[in-house]
C-alpha cells in the first residue's frame, strides 16, 4: 500500500496537528515505510485468535501460578472523598479564571 499526501493530511487533521508543508512529505515517506513493514502482520492467520484486551495473565493458558497468586483486579470502595487540588491544578493552567480554564470563544453569535 502507498500512503498519499492526502492520507497524511487526513491523519494530521484527526490528530489536531498543524503540519508545516515540508513535514507532510517527510512523514508521508516515513509512514509509508513503517506501515509497509507493519504489513507483515497480514502474513499470520489470526481468525481463531482472541485480541489481547487486558494485561492480566489468564489462567486458561496455564501461566505458572500467576492467577493462583491472586492477580485479581481489586476495586476500591466507591466512596466520595474530598479532592482539594483544584487551586494547585489551576495554577498550572496557561490561562485560568478561577474556577475555570479560559479558552478562545467556541460559540458563535
Amino acid at each position: 500500500m502507498k500512503i498519499s499526501r492526502e492520507d497524511v493530511l487526513r491523519v494530521a487533521q484527526l490528530a489536531h496537528l498543524d503540519l508545516a508543508p515540508e513535514e507532510v512529505e517527510t512523514y508521508r515517506g516515513q509512514l509509508d515505510e513503517i506501515l509497509g513493514y507493519i504489513g507483515k502482520l497480514q502474513e499470520l492467520d489470526v481468525s481463531n485468535v482472541e485480541p489481547m484486551t487486558q494485561m492480566r495473565p489468564r489462567s486458561t493458558h496455564g501461566e505458572s501460578g500467576a492467577s493462583a497468586s491472586g492477580a485479581e483486579l481489586e476495586l476500591r470502595d466507591d466512596v466520595v472523598v474530598p479532592c482539594t487540588v483544584a487551586d494547585a491544578v489551576l495554577a498550572e493552567a496557561p490561562d485560568a479564571a478561577k474556577p475555570f480554564f479560559r479558552v478562545p470563544k467556541v460559540i458563535e453569535r
Partner: protein, 481 residues
C-alpha cells in the same frame, strides 16, 4: 570512596551508621559530581537541592537520635523526567511541558522518600519516552559514559547514564518497549522492568498504558532488589496495580540456582545479532549452566512479529494518551483564533518529530477503515506472542536472550531512519507485549569496550526468580565475562 568503587545502598548505610559521612555531605558530594560531569553527559534536566537537603537533614536527625534507619536512608536517587514530582519541574523531555510543575508526587516517589531516599533531580529522556537512543529529547541527547560519542540508549538514557557515571546510586526509569533494559545494556548496569501491574504508575505520565512500567537502575543486584522491595505492591490510586503480595526479594535472590531450567530461544540468536554480543551472551548462558542451571532450547515462533505489533499497539495508545496536550489545562499554549486553531498550533509547536510521527501512526491505525487491519490484528498477534511465553514457561523457569542486537551506536547514526531505530528493540518488545518482567544484566564488553547486556525474562510476578539468576550471575563474575 575511591573513584572506581561506586557507592551502593549498603555502603551508604554503613557510612551513615559509622558516621563517616552525613546524608547532607553525601548529597553535596553527589551534586558536586553532577556539576562536574553533567555538562558533558546531559543526564540531568533539573536538580532539586532544596528537597534533597531537607530529606538528607531528616535522615541525619534520625542518625543523631539513634533511630532505626529506613532501607534507603540517605541514598541519592535520580528520577526519569516522566515521573511526577510535586514542585519539581517535570517535562517528559518535551517542549510542550517545558514549564510544567506537577501538583502531586507519583506513588513510586512517595515510597522512595518514605524509605529515606534523597531525590537529587530529574533525568533526561526521549520525549514522552518515545525513542531508543535518547536523541528525541527536546533538551539535547545524553552521552554514554562508557563512550562519549555514543548513545546511552533510550528512552531512560539519562537515568542509565547517571547511575553508570556515579552521579546517582540508583535511579528510576520507565519501560514501554525496552526503555529500561536497553539503556541498562548500553551503559553496562543492571536494569529491571517489573511485571505489568507490579509497581504503581500513579503519577507516571502515560505513553502507552497497556505497556508502561516503572523500574530501577542500579550498579548491583542487591540495590535493584532493594529498590524493588520499596516500590512494588498494590496502590489504590492505580487500578492497574496488582494485589499480589511482594516477596522478600533480598532473601529470595540468594537461593541457589542449581536445577533451574533456563530457556534459550533460537529466534533471538539469528540474523541481525552482532557476533560479539552473541558470543558474550552465549558465554553468559554457559556460566549459568556451570552454576547448575539446565539449558532448554526453545522456539518462540512469533518473535519476528513483535516489532510490528508493538509499533501499532504503542502508537495507538500514545495517540490517545497524548490527546490531553491541547494547551487548555497545563503546559504550552500557542494562541489561536479559534479553539481548534489553538489546539493545532500548540501541538505543532510543542511536540517533536518522533512524537508527531507516533501520534500519526497511532491515529492512522485506529482510524475508521483501518482499525481491523492494524489495531485489532495487532492485538490478536499480541495474544500469540504472549502465548509463546506462557507455553515456554511451562517448560522453563526463565528465558535468556541478548538485551539488544547491537551495542551502543554512535550519536546521529540512526536518526535519519526511524524504522531502523525501531528494529533495534526486537528482543525487548516481546516481553513488554506479554506483560512479563525482564532484567538486563551486564555481560562483558566488546573488544572496543562497549557494554553488552544479557536479558532474563521470568513469568508474571517472577521478579524474585529473575533477581535470583541475576545475583548468581553477578557473584560468579558474569558481569565482566
Amino acid at each position: 570512596m575511591s573513584a572506581t568503587t561506586p557507592w551502593t545502598i549498603a555502603t551508604v548505610r554503613d557510612a551513615l551508621l559509622t558516621k563517616k559521612t552525613s546524608a547532607r555531605e553525601l548529597a553535596n558530594d553527589f551534586y558536586t559530581r553532577i556539576e562536574r560531569r553533567n555538562p558533558e553527559l546531559n543526564a540531568f534536566l533539573a536538580l532539586c537541592p532544596e528537597r534533597a537537603y531537607a530529606q538528607a537533614d531528616r535522615v541525619d536527625a534520625a542518625v543523631a537520635k539513634g533511630k532505626p534507619l529506613p532501607p534507603l536512608a540517605g541514598v541519592p536517587v535520580a528520577i526519569k523526567d516522566v515521573i511526577s514530582t510535586q514542585g519539581v519541574r517535570t517535562t517528559c523531555g518535551s517542549k510542550i511541558l517545558e514549564n510544567y510543575t506537577p501538583p502531586y508526587d507519583a506513588t513510586a516517589i512517595e515510597r522512595l522518600e518514605n524509605a529515606g531516599a534523597v531525590i537529587l533531580g530529574k533525568t533526561n529522556c526521549d520525549e514522552f519516552a518515545m525513542g531508543s537512543s535518547n536523541e528525541n529529547s527536546a533538551y539535547g541527547a545524553v552521552r554514554n559514559p562508557a563512550a562519549l560519542d555514543r548513545v546511552p540508549g533510550g528512552s531512560s538514557g539519562g537515568s542509565a547514564a547517571a547511575v553508570a557515571a556515579g552521579l546517582s546510586v540508583v535511579a528510576l526509569g520507565t519501560d514501554t518497549g525496552g526503555s529500561i533494559r536497553q539503556p541498562g545494556a548500553y551503559c553496562g548496569i543492571p536494569a529491571l522492568m517489573p511485571t505489568y501491574g507490579r509497581v504503581s504508575r500513579y503519577g507516571l505520565i502515560a505513553f502507552a498504558s497497556s505497556l508502561d512500567r516503572i523500574g530501577p537502575f542500579a550498579t548491583n543486584i542487591n540495590d535493584a532488589a532493594t529498590v524493588m522491595s520499596i516500590i512494588a505492591g498494590h496502590d489504590s490510586n492505580d487500578s492497574t496495580s496488582a494485589s499480589v503480595s511482594v516477596p522478600d526479594y533480598l532473601a529470595e535472590m540468594e537461593k541457589p540456582v542449581t536445577g533451574l531450567r533456563i530457556g534459550v530461544p533460537e529466534d533471538y540468536f539469528g540474523e541481525g545479532l552482532d557476533p560479539e554480543v552473541k558470543a558474550k551472551v552465549q558465554a553468559g548462558i554457559a556460566l549459568l549452566e556451570k552454576l547448575g542451571c539446565r539449558r532448554v532450547p526453545l522456539k518462540m515462533p512469533h518473535t519476528d512479529y513483535a516489532i510490528a505489533t508493538y509499533y501499532v499497539v504503542a502508537t495507538a495508545e500514545a495517540s490517545s494518551n497524548l490527546a490531553r496536550y491541547d494547551g487548555v489545562r497545563f503546559g504550552l499554549r500557542v494562541q489561536g483564533s479559534t479553539l481548534m486553531d489553538m489546539y493545532r498550533k500548540t501541538r505543532e509547536r510543542g511536540f517533536g518529530p518522533e512524537v508527531k510521527r507516533r501520534i500519526m501512526l497511532g491515529t492512522y491505525a485506529l482510524s475508521s477503515g483501518y482499525y481491523d487491519a492494524y489495531y485489532l490484528r495487532a492485538q490478536k498477534v499480541r495474544s500469540l506472542i504472549a502465548r509463546d511465553f506462557s507455553n515456554a514457561f511451562e517448560k522453563v523457569d526463565a528465558i535468556l536472550t541478548p538485551t539488544a542486537p547491537i551495542p551502543a551506536f554512535k550519536l546521529g547514526e540512526k536518526t535519519a531512519d526511524p524504522l531502523q531505530m525501531y528494529l533495534a528493540d526486537i528482543y525487548t518488545v516481546t516481553g513488554s507485549l506479554a506483560g512479563i518482567p525482564g532484567i538486563s544484566v551486564p555481560c562483558g564488553k566488546t573488544a572496543a569496550g562497549l557494554p553488552i547486556g544479557m536479558q532474563i525474562f521470568a513469568s508474571h510476578f517472577g521478579e524474585a526468580r529473575i533477581l535470583q539468576l541475576a545475583r548468581a550471575f553477578e557473584k560468579a563474575g558474569g558481569f565482566a565475562i
